[in-house]
Amino acid sequence: MSGPIILGLETSCDETAVGVVRDGVVLSNVLSSQVDEHARFGGIVPEVAARAHVEAIRSLTHRALRDAGIHQLDVAAVAATRGPGLAGALMVGFAYGKALAWALDKPFLGVDHMEGHLFAPTLDHAGFEPPAVVLLASGGHSQIVHARAWGDYETVGETIDDAAGEAFDKVARFLGLGFPGGPAIDRASEGGNPAAVEFPRALADRPTDLSFSGLKTAVVTYIRQHHAAGDLPPLADVAAAVQEAIVDVLVTKTMNAVAQTGVRTVAGGGGVLANRRLRQRLEEACAARNLALYLPAPVLCTDNGAMVAAAAAFRLEAGERTEWDAEVEVSLRLG
């Protein structure tokens, strides 16, 4: 155990997160969630997120170093998410990380947030390696990536409108379940019958692309009609049916991508992958096809600093460095 220690900072959206990783082992992984700050607005407010990051980044970094039992000078490189994400939010972690690396005379690596999610499964599954089809779904992104090898990625499908997490958020708000929607619907669906309502599955003609805005409209229409008619099913049934529709689309399209690419390994990342029904359905689908499935633990599915450090370790070993004059890249795109 003598590989480089990497400090990873993640501030692309609404979690200030810092992790320390060495040789694929998470030495610490801490975060300061802003959920409560955004919940009162019913969604993520970019300026609120950026403000919270700058309040948290310094002390959180110190906590991550302390939890890892290391001194800042033990760090071999500092990494921070470069994009994609919210500009003002990204800038905080990127500026802090870059300056810290420079001041400590260490290399700096600006990391693609999505590549971070691709590396997350390696942190609790030593066996995970490309080639693989990876489903990345959160409130800000939804795509299916064919990872041919580390560093060689192709996006084989993506959402043409809302992200999956966004669909959860919007429907949850309509159902009066609050923010964030994913966990709220997950909870509300307990004991519900997912077959109680058949909500539409969009884009049947595009095997690996995703779409969720039609679902949102269908839910609104359905509830208005049945509320008026007085035969609205229980909330648990509707929540379960909504969840099933989103999960079904994600699983079906992921399996289509597997068929298309011929890979035998599936992985996932992003906050939506913490959804229990999605994990269960992916397990069933992979078992039925004899595919290996690597889902990170929920804390490594949601945005975190350890995944940024893990991706940076790969880039560092490949000899990469990010220039001191680098800026964040809001629309950074993976393959």
Binding site: F41, G42, G43, V45, E47, V48, A50, R51, H53, V54, E55, I57, R58, S59, T61, H62, Q72, A87, G88, M91, V92, G93, F94, A95, Y96, G97, K98, A99, L100, W102, A103, L104, D105, K170, R173, F174, L175, G176, L177, V220, I223, H227, L232, P234, L235, W324, D325, A326, E327, V328
Partner: protein
């Protein structure tokens, strides 16, 4: 004492290394954007000029606003990292103080102005005193009309400095006893000067207390008009 001063709260960004009261290296540029790309290369350049090692510093000083939100945060995040890496104090400086210090001459009451966009400026009154300026009232965000009205009702001769060019051109026209002047933007050297005064008096806050001074709440506009606050089961 060796000071590193960082100023990115306005359209002008600057970095200065100050030893005692002497500026030994500085870098500056004008741009509303790109603070994150500017800062470390500017520091790198200045440290090389001065021949300082990165950790051989005693104080980091940073302009915490008011001004451009993203610039304030880029500067503060950078300053937090430098101070933390070197294990030295971080001293926050109010942007209007730095602007006013740059105009510390004459007898006129100084009105320092910093652009905060959306039709407003941050403005605050100062009085020149030997060796600098002192605050002569409170600072607030004002519209051009409000600033004009304030200056009109102020009996003393005034010198308006800072980014008054961000105001509509007629804002200061025809005001009796009002002159405009420089500097247009706060400078890192002024930030270092102010921090030196505080450091000498032992006014060093805990790093967690060093926060941006936006002087404005975030704009929150979530357009979900077609969604209800509460569902039919509520």
């Amino acid at each position: 004492m060796r000071f590193v001063a960082i100023e990115t709260a306005t359209a002008a960004s600057s970095v200065a290394l100050v030893e005692g009261s002497e500026v030994v290296a500085s870098a500056r540029r004008i741009d509303r954007r790109g603070h994150v790309g500017f800062l470390v290369p500017a520091l790198d350049f200045c440290f090389a000029q001065a021949g300082w090692a990165h950790a051989e510093i005693d104080v980091v000083a940073v302009d915490v606003g008011p001004g451009l939100f993203s610039g304030i945060r880029a500067g503060l995040a950078t300053a937090q990292a430098l101070a933390g890496a070197a294990g030295v104090p971080l001293i926050p400086v109010f942007s209007l103080d730095a602007v006013a210090l740059g105009a510390a001459t004459g007898h006129r009451r100084i009105w320092a102005v910093v652009d905060v966009r959306r039709g407003e400026v941050a403005a605050g009154p100062y009085r020149p005193v030997p060796g600098g300026v002192v605050r002569d009232g409170s600072s607030e965000l004002v519209t051009a009309a409000k600033l004009r009205a304030t200056l009109e009702s102020d009996a003393s001769d005034a010198l308006v400095v800072g980014d008054w060019k961000a105001l509509p051109v007629d804002t200061l026209v025809g005001l009796h006893g009002v002159k405009t002047g420089r500097p247009r933007y706060p400078a890192a050297a002024a930030v270092a000067d102010i921090a030196r005064g505080r450091a000498e008096k032992g006014e060093v806050p805990h790093p967690d207390e060093v926060r941006p001074r936006y002087m404005r709440e975030p704009d929150v506009t979530i357009n979900w008009a077609d969604y209800r606050e509460e569902g039919p089961w509520a």
